[in-house]
Symmetry: C2
Subunit: 217 residues, 2 copies
């Protein structure tokens, strides 16, 4: 069995928004799909350990910000590598609230959805949430291309395995310094890794320079 | 509410394989995702009216052929616009059987999965099938690029709205003759539509030339 085949499944990239009382929170997910059209039902899959999971169950709703290829890695990391339990993930992110009060990113999206929780199924590690569509707007706020970001694009381009405007897989990286938290590979764009200041941090997840490890080629 | 936003959700393209007794059957779907990694669980969403739906429930398993960008529209149409109730969809398609006897396409795939049905949830129009992974191989049999086909690529390129090797959205179509069954737009590659022989058929779904309609620009 070669589970590398699983890497060829296709996903988008989203910030799933919800609320803890009146406080907006959310997380980065790649598993949002439309499952039926009459009625329009949206499915999202979230790990049990994620604060967003319990907030969706309590608030009985969620929003989906559909990320575009222009979304910076730092925004994805902001929602992906910290917990909303002890962090206000929206503190430095421009956002607005949907009519039902769920947060949506203002910049670099290809539109947003608002869903009312209809049912959910708890698997061993994740919950499958099914929501009915209560609001939606298309749009490309701040997004130059307007292309939705795919999970493959995120891994190949945003995480630094290839520069955004270069042929993918063809340009060798200048170094193999890798973040042990999120997998980001330093692309050499700010000079040799050793010359970076000690205050430099992983642009995806914020891990310190000292945490980075040098992979052997 | 602008449901055009739903078009910016991202999906892959797959042939979901199953069996009716010993006879292989299946259908084209865009809704296959991995939902958990421990254990590895795969979700697929299939309309109740599809013959594949009842066959998965009876055989308690399914396969997933992950289509590449090279998959011809005719193959996708073969599995998408006919019913396996009265047609042997695999009659003209090279395939092999997984260890548990589920059919997998031999050509133009980015790998395949075999799943044992663990549970399912019936929504109003579709069933959400959850299967545990029992087999998988990566690979790019007959696929030049090895890129998985996305649903967006299928709509923009394969269905004829843009030639495969031309800048998408930039080249005007030579005609607007459109198939009312599958939405394929004739791309002018075999000459003016009016000059095509009466025996010409839609390359996606096999509809006759007479069924095509001329859209107004």
């Amino acid at each position: 069995m070669d589970t590398m085949a699983l890497r060829n499944l296709t996903y988008g990239m989203f910030v799933l928004g919800t609320k803890n009382g009146d406080r907006p929170t959310g997380c980065t997910v790649n598993t949002v799909i439309q499952v039926t059209s009459d009625p329009i039902l949206i499915m999202a899959c979230v790990n049990h350990q994620n604060f967003t999971n319990q907030c969706i169950k309590q608030s009985k709703g969620f929003s989906v910000s559909i990320l575009s290829e222009e979304t910076p890695g730092s925004v994805i990391g902001n929602f992906g590598f910290r917990s909303g339990r002890d962090t206000d993930k929206f503190a430095s992110i421009p956002y607005f609230l949907t009519p039902e009060g769920y947060p949506v990113l203002k910049l670099n999206t290809c539109g947003w959805l608002e869903c009312k929780l209809e049912s959910f199924t708890d698997l061993k590690t994740h919950t499958l949430f099914i929501g009915s569509l209560t609001g939606a707007e298309a749009g490309t706020a701040g997004a130059a291309s307007g292309n939705p970001m795919t999970y493959a694009y995120y891994h190949r381009v945003v995480k630094g395995k290839a520069p955004a405007n270069a042929p993918i897989f063809e340009k060798p990286l200048e170094s193999l310094w890798t973040c042990p938290i999120c997998g980001y590979q330093y692309d050499g764009s700010a000079g040799p890794f050793g010359d970076l200041p000690h205050s430099w941090k992983c642009p995806i997840c914020g891990a310190g320079k000292d945490a980075f490890k040098l992979n052997k080629a």
